[in-house]
């Protein structure tokens, strides 16, 4: 069996709008290990969600995958196949979505249909992917609700989404996503809309279910705290590119890219209240329509080197085993002229 479950190489997903091309994802390479957790960290507009949608081929026009490959090493039907080469509406891809790769989102209310009961919605996925009767599907749905530690699953299965709290809705989403025992769960900011005690419960639940079911997780978030708790490997994204990639320990003990370092310095650290100001990153995230030349972070960077960072684009290079960074401070950056 291939050690990686998913390998993304040089993925480019661009949006062709009337105002011009938006390179939302621009040459991203990532690997998800079988049963492992990859964290994708970034601020709004960095392309982290579009990367997730690209894997499931759910990018809508005017967005389009224009380059790269997404190889998925799943069960027998799809093994080492390039998902970008499949037709988005094909039967093969439908077998991947839900059954092999499932996704959960930030706002569970908008991902659940208000007109159907919770039970109905969980059963729909089971009936689509598995050869079972309605009664059996219902039994599986109940088991799944029980698995996600839903209180009173027999009552909840008959309820509508609006009758549930945010945390319970996210539990329903997880039950639905895991009902076909996928190999990979893409979780896009799954706890951002939740309160802190509920967030802790959901994160705990995801870790327990991962141990139990052995699936891999791709955890997309902007929250450094959440990433530190959940991920084994992390890719930090900025304006459509991966700027740093490392295992979680090395990223936090030895952050290298100026963006990663600045992010870590700019957040208040609880329990270490210091008088005075935070070290803020200057400026703001540029619009993806208007990406700066050279290194996309150079206008905000504290270590900006004139005539280099604004001219050449650094490439991701290893600085030590398992830790790669795209910055001229650490290496020649493998830069490409005038790009």
């Amino acid at each position: 069996m291939h050690p990686n479950l998913l390998e993304i190489t040089d993925l480019k997903t661009h949006f062709f709008t009337e105002q011009g091309v938006v390179p939302a994802v621009d040459g991203v390479s990532l690997q998800v290990k079988r049963g492992g957790t990859l964290g994708v960290l970034g601020e709004s507009g960095c392309g982290k969600s579009v990367t997730g949608f690209s894997i499931l081929r759910l990018v809508r026009p005017p967005g389009r995958i224009v380059g790269g490959a997404i190889r998925y090493y799943g069960r027998e039907t799809v093994n080492g196949e390039d998902l970008t080469a499949l037709d988005a509406r094909s039967e093969a891809l439908r077998q991947v979505r839900g059954a092999e790769i499932a996704m959960i989102f930030q706002e569970p209310m908008t991902s659940l249909d208000p007109l159907f009961t919770v039970g109905n919605q969980i059963m729909e996925a089971i009936l689509y992917h598995q050869d079972v009767s309605k009664a059996e599907a219902r039994k599986i749905a109940l088991e799944m609700l029980d698995k996600v530690r839903m209180p009173q699953p027999a009552d909840v299965i008959k309820q509508y989404p609006h009758q549930l709290s945010g945390g319970m809705r996210q539990r329903v989403m997880i039950a639905m996503a895991l009902s076909c025992e996928p190999q990979l769960l893409i979780a896009d900011e799954p706890t951002t809309a939740l309160d802190v005690t509920t967030e802790a419960q959901i994160l705990e639940l995801m870790r327990e279910l991962q141990d139990e079911l052995g699936m891999a997780i791709m955890f997309i978030t902007h929250d450094l705290g959440v990433i530190a708790e959940m991920a084994e490997e992390v890719a930090v994204m900025y304006l459509g590119k991966v700027v740093e990639q490392s295992d979680i320990q090395s990223l936090f003990t030895d952050p290298q890219h100026p963006y990663t370092r600045a992010l870590m310095q700019s957040i208040p650290k609880v329990g270490q209240k210091a008088a005075g100001r935070l070290e803020a990153i200057r400026g703001m995230v540029p619009s993806p329509r208007d990406i700066p030349s050279g290194c996309p972070f150079h206008p905000r960077c504290a270590s900006f080197i004139a005539d280099l960072c604004n001219v050449k684009t650094p490439r991701l290079q290893e600085t030590k085993p398992g830790h790669a960074v795209s910055c001229f401070l650490y290496n020649d950056g493998g830069g490409i002229n005038g790009v």
Binding site: E43, S165, V270, R277
Partner: protein
């Protein structure tokens, strides 16, 4: 916190806001949601009180009731206005409210929906100055330019509309508007929670700088406990309409006296993979505020609950000078602080 008039800007005493619950064909009133149920605190000049709690705990309702955007059901809100002296906002008449609102302003969570998209920055920031007949014509323009500069925006932008600005910039516009009348007191309701991580720090720094420069007092409402710790001098924790604990920031984060505070602190995701957390297992979810549990509202989720907790509602008691908690066992429990998980 003493209620010495010279040392206090805002004093909230037993403030209540109940909403009726109606049902049936005739919409008869069948009950009440006690959104804010007897909260008390005071804020000294140039200080920040952080108000934390989970969604639905009543923190935003409390802010709106203090500003008298909502009519209080009971209690007092004494504001020590530097021109008018002490005024009870809960009972003040229209004219008094109009005058006192010069000195108290609000910054909202979502800068997208709290700025009128059809007004230019000049109109938005200048509106308070026009309403209070403080400036017009060139003077108004100069004053708005000065405010824009102070919050880090270019005065040339004053003829533009809010849509031309990013989230962080819009929050600066909201802050400039709040500053226009040179207030004493600002309520900031989740001012950074809609912002990106890298923009959050800029906004917090700006709020702190302005506090020093204009001697502002803040009521800072947020659910992010790291942000609240950073900016607050004192912190009050709300749960289902009540304040369950209040203390200075250091004591509250390091020596909590209420099990709910301990649970909140233990739930914070920490940006350090080396921390192996021993979480306080907190069960269940927030109760329905229309039908809260008997006794202590937190008892069904509390790991330390005993028989009395389901029967008797604990009152806020002073555990140490300046540190109050509403727990039957506040002085017996040894709870863990934020660095002990």
């Amino acid at each position: 916190m003493a209620s010495d008039a010279t040392n206090i800007v805002l004093e909230v005493q037993n403030l209540k806001k109940y909403f009726p619950v109606s049902a049936g064909l005739l919409r008869r009133e069948v009950g009440q949601v006690k959104a804010v149920d007897g909260i008390s605190f005071s804020i000294p000049p140039r200080m920040t009180l952080g108000l934390v709690g989970e969604s639905g705990c009543g923190k935003t309702t409390a802010a709106h009731t203090i500003m008298r955007g909502l009519e209080p059901t009971g209690g007092k809100v004494i504001f020590h206005d530097r021109q008018l002296g002490a005024i009870d906002l809960a009972t003040a008449d229209k004219e008094a409210l109009f005058q006192v609102r010069r000195n108290m302003q609000m910054v909202f969570q979502d800068p997208q929906s709290s700025l009128n998209p059809r007004m230019t920055l000049l109109d938005i920031i200048g509106e308070p100055l026009v309403i209070y007949k403080i400036a017009k014509g060139q003077e108004l323009i100069d004053r708005v330019a000065q405010l824009l500069k102070r919050v880090g925006l270019r005065p040339e932008y004053m003829r533009r509309f809010p849509h031309a600005f990013s989230g962080g910039q819009r929050q600066r516009i909201g802050i400039a508007r709040a500053l226009a009348l040179n207030p004493q007191f600002i309520v900031a309701d989740e001012p950074t929670s809609a912002l990106d991580v890298s923009i959050q720090a800029q906004t917090l720094n700006l709020l702190q700088d302005l506090q020093d420069e204009f001697s502002l007092s803040y009521l800072f409402i947020a659910h992010d406990l790291s942000v609240v710790e950073h900016i607050s001098d004192f912190v009050a924790v709300m749960y289902v309409g009540k304040i369950v604990e209040r203390a200075d920031t250091h004591r509250l984060y390091h020596f909590p006296k209420h099990p709910y505070t301990e649970a909140l602190l233990s739930s914070i995701p920490r940006p350090d993979p080396a921390i192996q957390k021993k979480r306080v297992a907190i069960r269940g979810e927030l109760p329905n505020p229309a039908d809260p549990p008997k006794g202590c509202y937190f008892h069904p989720r509390c790991p330390y609950a005993e028989a009395i907790c389901a029967e008797e509602e604990p009152q806020l008691q002073e555990v140490e000078p300046g540190h109050v908690a509403a727990c039957h066992f506040a002085d017996q429990l040894t709870l863990r602080g934020v660095n002990e998980f």
